[in-house]
């Protein structure tokens, strides 16, 4: 029993770390998609922010300045997506794909410019783990959940916050309406384009938090391509969680747990290839078995134009 619990704490801690960037990005995706804009570019938004955070910290020596840089970059790239898909009515999937490519090529391009090297950046000041006094002393879960980077605590706060924002405030009501029936929002005198800009912008800011947690919360340096598909997993978590903040966070934690499990399992017994399949197969099974029909916001993917 003792031993079982002993192994549980690090597993849970690993789950929290794996899940955090996914939660941020999935919440971000939720804002965008609830407003009716597909955001397949989460991966790119995370990557560019992961880079910008490190670059900011590199220039200033402060993690907080890095965070500002990251938020700025996430916002900036998100606004490109917004401009293209909302104002210019470009296809949202293509625009998102382009954002991913732009982030990948762009960070590669900028590495040399900013750090004078490619590959991995120099180490910068990151967000170190901070134990929360009383909570972190709870057996097993305490260390796992409450001895983490500040950004993790921000993530904890973000889930109920986004829930309240989406389901309790006028902003959330309008946002949900925009994704479901933009013409209804429009005729109620609320600008559809503005709501969508807000949605996409928020997705940029939240994805930025995910990216910056990756490069400055878990690590303290940027590596080219370091997001490694996490943006897509976050998208899956969002859909899995049925576009609901709590559901999406739950799905992200499930994925995080599956990933943590990979490193706990003995690689010489089960081939690594099969261990690596676990989170994905799990998703499919759960989706087919219990997930039922995921219902996307009705107007998602469609540009709104009045004439």
């Amino acid at each position: 029993m003792e031993e079982l619990l002993g192994g549980l704490a690090p597993l849970l801690a690993s789950m929290v770390r794996n899940a955090t960037p996914l939660v941020f990005a999935a919440l971000g995706g939720m804002f965008s998609e609830r407003s009716g804009v597909v955001n397949i570019g989460l991966e790119g938004l995370m990557l560019i922010s992961a880079f910008a955070g490190v670059a900011g910290a590199f220039y200033s020596g402060s993690a907080w300045v890095g965070l500002l840089f990251a938020l700025g970059a996430g916002l900036g790239f998100a606004l490109i997506h917004a401009l293209m898909s909302i104002t210019f009515e470009a296809d949202q999937i293509i625009s998102g794909t382009a954002i991913n490519l732009l982030a990948l090529g762009g960070t590669g391009f900028l590495m040399e410019l900013v750090f004078g090297r490619s590959g991995t950046s120099p180490r910068v000041q990151g967000f170190e783990p901070v134990a929360i006094p009383v909570l972190s002393e709870i057996p097993v879960v305490g260390r796992a959940f409450f001895d983490q980077s500040l950004l993790v605590y921000l993530m904890y706060a973000m889930v109920p916050l986004t829930y309240l924002l989406v389901f309790r405030t006028p902003f959330g009501l309008r946002l949900r309406g925009t994704g479901e029936a933009p013409e209804a929002v429009d005729t109620a005198g609320v600008s559809v384009a503005r709501m969508r800009y807000y949605g996409v912008a928020l997705s940029g800011l939240l994805a930025a938090l995910g990216g910056v947690y990756l490069s400055m919360g878990i690590l303290s340096a940027f590596t080219e391509g370091m997001t490694n598909g996490r943006g897509f997993i976050a998208l899956a978590a969002l859909i899995f969680g049925r576009w609901n903040p709590v559901g999406a966070a739950g799905a992200a934690f499930l994925f995080g747990l599956a990933q943590a499990f990979i490193f706990q399992a003995p690689q010489d017994v089960i081939p690594l290839e099969f261990l690596q399949m676990i989170p994905y197969v799990l998703t499919i099974v759960v989706l087919a078995g219990f997930g039922g029909r995921a219902v996307a916001p009705a107007a998602i993917g469609k540009p709104y134009r009045k004439e």
Binding site: L164, R168, T169, P170, G172, L173, R174, R176, G177, E180, A181, E183, A184, V185, D186, T187, A188, G189, V190, S191, A298, K306, E307
Partner: protein
């Protein structure tokens, strides 16, 4: 010539009241189409102004301009005599204009109260004060006698209720001018009556109303003046008290229209379509049809009257084969087809005109010739034995059928989306009635189409009847059911609650439909 002195000259019943709204010389073109061509109208305080016109005449466009959804190419809008710039719906709302659109603009997953307060939410701190929203919605319902549960999800409401929500939305924003675009197209007689008494109350309390409808009788009954639009221009404005249906129809279409259906004696033959104890579930999983039995004979039109949402859709689909029956049997010309799909029934001579042309009847982005072959694309002459398509054959047949059914324009390569509603309906009829079907299920065949098109469609159905076809007519329009049918079944809550002849009165039918008789 459409320009008139906005205030003088017209003798309306609300003649002395001040003009609250004036639209002058409104022009709007879409590509090659001039939807509005120098239209001028005026609206007085406390009056109902009817607007009448064929499908595609430009009515909705004019109203969308008023509401800031479209910007006019030319023309001006005056509110209380002052020039008003209405750039978007927000401006319109702020100036006291409310609109109930032809297609509802509600958000189905949200509650009634949420839909109503959207954009003008009462707040408590940072949050929406939902309790207050519910309370205020309830009060509004009370004040204008519009019954609807503020806490219900809009997706669960009937069409009539949804429309009340639309009106409440406008009232919540303190509209002084209310625009209703074809509000009765989807209502039952009772609901229509309720709506009109509501409108009268609203007018009495000082609101001004613009009402668009294709139903001449309603227009005459409720409006003070009627402006007729044809091809984007104002033809005339007449006081309702000094005109009649015949004149209105003539002004609107530009020729005499047969308003009364003239039908010959029925010569019923053998039973061709038969349902026995049919039980059908709705998409939501509830039992919507609870043991319906009916028989339609050749040379006869059997009408089904009823309030929307009482199982009509499920009944029609189960008969047509696009929805499985849970119990009971369907027979076509004596053969049990209960287990057969829609295609097999189609091959056995069943035609089906669905109620929703854009979502079911047509693939809007397909060309008309493709839509014409939608059900027979894999049969000769449209396909070879090996599954190759023959588009040339499709085009040829489609062109013939479109011409025969007076679809305008009869170009088989146009996407169905680009046709007006009435013409889309005719294109569906052209498909369903070609190939000489023995049995026709016509569900709302004239929904939202203008009187000219109605005349044509009714004529077609009667011609088929004369040729010995069995026709099941399901319609929410009592007038239509009564004037075409040889016998009428009343559907209520998934059951046939009565059978009457075409001479039955509104009251009789209304009681049956409400499930209060028998």
């Amino acid at each position: 010539m459409a320009e008139r002195e906005p205030t003088g000259g017209q003798a309306g019943t609300a003649g002395e009241a001040p003009v609250v709204l004036e639209m002058r010389g409104i022009t709007k073109t879409f590509g090659a189409v001039r939807a509005n061509d120098g239209i001028s109208i005026s609206l007085r305080r406390g009056e109902v102004l009817g607007i009448l016109g064929e499908n595609g005449a430009g009515k909705s466009t004019l109203m969308k301009i008023l509401y800031g959804l479209y910007s006019p190419d030319a023309g001006e809008i005056f509110l209380d005599g002052e020039r008003a710039e209405i750039k978007d719906p927000k401006d319109a709302v702020e100036r006291g204009i409310g609109m109930v659109h032809q297609h509802f603009t509600l958000i189905p997953p949200l509650t009634v109260a949420e839909n109503i307060v959207l954009g003008a939410e009462p707040r408590r701190g940072l949050a929406v004060d939902l309790q207050r929203a519910v309370r205020e919605t309830g009060e509004l319902c009370e004040r204008y006698g519009l019954r609807v549960d503020p806490r219900a999800r809009v997706a669960d409401l009937s069409v009539g209720e949804q429309q009340r929500v639309e009106i409440l939305k406008a009232l919540y924003r303190e509209a002084r001018i209310l625009v209703l675009d074809e509000p009765t197209a989807v209502l039952t007689p009772q609901e229509t009556e309720d709506l009109f008494s509501t409108l009268k109350e609203l007018v009495a309390s000082g609101l001004s109303i613009i009402l668009i409808t294709h139903k001449l009788g309603e227009l005459l009954g409720v409006s003070d003046r009627i402006t007729i639009i044809r091809d984007g221009r104002v033809v005339d404005t007449v006081p309702a008290a000094r005109t009649d249906e015949r004149e209105l129809a003539r002004l609107m279409v530009g020729r005499e229209v047969l308003l009364r259906v003239e039908k010959e004696e029925a010569e019923p033959g053998g039973v061709r379509l038969q349902a026995e104890g049919l039980v059908v579930r709705s998409s939501r999983g509830t039992v919507a049809v609870r043991g319906v039995s009916l028989e339609v004979r050749g040379g006869e039109i059997l009408g089904i009257a009823g309030v929307d949402g009482n199982g009509q859709t499920e009944l029609a689909e189960a008969l047509a084969g696009t929805r499985p029956a849970e119990g009971g049997a369907v027979r076509l010309d004596g053969e049990d087809v209960t287990r057969l799909g829609a295609k097999a029934r189609k091959r056995r001579g069943l035609a089906y005109v669905p109620e929703d042309r854009m979502a079911k009847g047509l693939v809007p982005d397909f060309a008309l010739y493709e839509n014409h072959a939608l059900k027979t694309y894999d049969e000769p002459p449209y396909a070879s034995r090996w599954g190759w398509l023959r588009p040339a054959a499709m085009r040829r047949r489609a062109a013939e059928a479109l011409r025969a059914f007076d679809v305008r324009p009869p170009d088989p390569d146009l996407p169905a989306r680009s046709l007006s509603g009435g013409n889309q309906q005719k294109a569906i009829l052209a498909r369903e009635l070609s190939g000489d079907p023995g049995v026709i299920i016509a569900y709302q065949p004239t929904r939202g189409v203008d009187v000219g098109a109605i005349e044509f469609i009714h004529g077609q159905l009667l011609r088929q009847r004369g040729e010995g076809k069995a026709i099941l007519l399901i319609s929410l329009e009592l007038e239509e059911v009564r004037s075409l049918s040889d016998g009428i079944l009343v559907l209520c809550d998934g059951r046939i609650v009565g059978e009457v002849g075409p001479e039955a009165t509104d009251e009789e039918l209304g009681l049956l439909m409400a499930g209060r008789a028998g």
